[in-house]
C-alpha cells in the first residue's frame, strides 16, 4: 500500500505543480477563491470559504474515525471497528456530496455573469458575450485555466474519495461478516485506513492551493 501511495502522491504532486506553473504564468488575472466559492446551503448571504471549511472538517473528522477503527482493530474489538468504520463511510459520502454541490454552484455561476470574448466557429473570430459560471471553455470568474485545473484536480481527488468510500464499504461488510475476526487480525482495515488518510492528505494540499492561496 505504501508504494502505491508514493506513486499516487507523485501523480497528485505533478498535477499540483503544473497548477503552480499556470498559476504563476497567469498571476495577474487569476481569480480569487473567496470571490468564487461564496455559497453555503440554506443561507442567503455570501459566506466566502465557509462551506469548504466545513468540507475540510468533515474529511479530517472521517480520517480520525478511520484511525480509531484501526486502533480498535488492534484490540480485536469488532463492535468498535464497525462503529468507527460506519462513521468513516458516512463522512466520506458527505464529502463527495458536498463536492458535487460545490461544482454545481461553480458551473451555474452568478446571476449577473460577466462579459468575455468567446471564440465563434462561424465567424472565425472572438465575439463578446455574457458568460455565466465556469466550464472547460469559458469562466465567468477569471481565466478558463482556473476552471480546467479546478475540475481536473478536485475531480481526480473526488474520484479517489469515491473509490475510498466503496473500498471502505467492502471492508466494512467483511468486518460485519466476521472475516477478520476469524483471521485473527484486522490488517485489511489498516490498509484501507492508509488509503483513506492519503486521500485526506491530498485534500489538505488541494484546500491550501485552490482555496487559500
Amino acid at each position: 500500500m505504501w508504494f502505491f501511495l508514493v506513486s499516487d502522491a507523485l501523480t497528485f504532486g505533478g498535477l499540483l505543480v503544473s497548477y503552480g506553473f499556470i498559476r504563476h504564468k497567469y498571476v495577474d488575472v487569476w481569480p480569487k477563491a473567496e470571490n468564487v466559492f461564496t455559497h453555503f446551503p440554506f443561507v442567503e448571504q455570501h459566506l466566502p470559504l465557509a462551506y469548504v471549511g466545513l468540507m475540510t472538517f468533515i474529511l479530517i473528522m472521517s480520517s480520525v474515525t478511520m484511525v480509531l477503527a484501526v486502533e480498535a482493530g488492534h484490540r480485536n474489538d469488532k463492535k468498535k471497528v464497525i462503529v468507527w468504520m460506519f462513521w468513516t463511510i458516512v463522512g466520506g459520502a458527505t464529502f463527495v456530496g458536498s463536492q458535487a454541490w460545490e461544482w454545481f454552484h461553480f458551473i451555474v455561476g452568478t446571476e449577473t455573469g460577466a462579459l468575455r470574448h468567446v471564440w465563434s466557429q462561424e465567424l472565425g473570430t472572438y465575439v463578446e458575450q455574457t458568460v455565466y459560471g465556469a466550464n472547460m471553455v469559458v469562466n465567468e470568474y477569471g481565466v478558463p485555466q482556473f476552471a480546467n485545473y479546478f475540475f481536473f484536480i478536485t475531480g481526480f481527488h473526488g474520484f479517489h474519495v469515491f473509490s475510498g468510500v466503496v473500498i471502505n464499504f467492502i471492508i466494512f461488510l467483511n468486518v460485519i461478516k466476521g472475516t477478520y475476526e476469524r483471521r485473527g487480525h484486522y490488517e485489511m482495515v489498516e490498509k484501507v485506513g492508509l488509503y483513506w488518510h492519503f486521500v485526506d492528505l491530498v485534500w489538505v494540499f488541494v484546500f491550501t492551493f485552490f482555496y487559500l492561496l
Partner: protein, 161 residues
C-alpha cells in the same frame, strides 16, 4: 514444512496492543485531531480577513499557509498513517525520494512559470491569453474580476480590490 523467516516481526505479533496502550493511543490521536482542527480554523479566519486588510498575495501569507499545510500533512503521515512508528529505513525509503523529486520539480516549474508569464515571453506563444487579459483588465462590470490599479512588476503581487 519450513517457512520463510526474516527478523521482521509478522503483522499478528506487531499489530496487537492491550487496553491501556489503546487508551494512550486514542488520547494521542484525538490530540492530533484537535491541533489539526485548530490549524484549519485559523487558516480560514486568516483567509477570510486577508482581502479586506490587503494581505492577499503577500509573501508572508503564502509562507504561513504553506507552512501550516506541511505541518498538517506531517501530522497525518506520522500519526494517522503511523509512519512515525515504522522502522527507520522504511521511513526514508518512502520519504526521501518523494521529497527530493518534488522539491526539485516545484523549484524548476515555478521558475519556468514565472518566465513564461512575463509579457515579453508570452506574446509569441499564447495569443488567446492577451484577449483574456484584456477582458479581465477591463473588468466589464464584473465585480469580482475587475482589478484596480495596474499590475506591478513583482511576480508574487496579486491584484487587490
Amino acid at each position: 514444512m519450513s517457512e520463510f523467516h526474516d527478523d521482521y516481526p509478522s503483522y499478528e505479533h506487531m499489530a496487537h496492543h492491550s487496553e491501556e496502550d489503546g487508551k494512550k493511543a486514542r488520547r494521542t490521536l484525538w490530540n492530533v485531531f484537535w491541533i489539526m482542527l485548530a490549524i484549519t480554523v485559523f487558516e480560514l479566519v486568516i483567509g477570510s480577513m486577508a482581502p479586506s486588510r490587503g494581505w492577499s498575495g503577500t509573501m508572508w501569507l503564502k509562507v504561513l499557509f504553506i507552512g501550516l499545510t506541511i505541518a498538517k500533512a506531517a501530522a497525518i503521515v506520522l500519526w494517522f498513517m503511523h509512519l512515525g512508528h515504522e522502522v527507520k529505513f522504511f521511513k526514508y525509503v518512502i520519504l526521501a525520494p518523494y521529497i527530493l523529486f518534488i522539491t526539485y520539480t516545484i523549484f524548476i516549474i515555478l521558475v519556468e512559470g514565472v518566465y513564461s508569464g512575463d509579457p515579453q515571453n508570452r506574446t509569441r506563444v499564447d495569443p488567446i491569453l492577451i484577449q483574456q487579459q484584456l477582458d479581465l483588465k477591463a473588468g466589464h462590470g464584473h465585480h469580482d474580476a475587475a482589478p484596480e490599479g495596474s499590475h506591478s512588476g513583482e511576480q508574487h503581487e496579486e491584484t487587490h480590490h
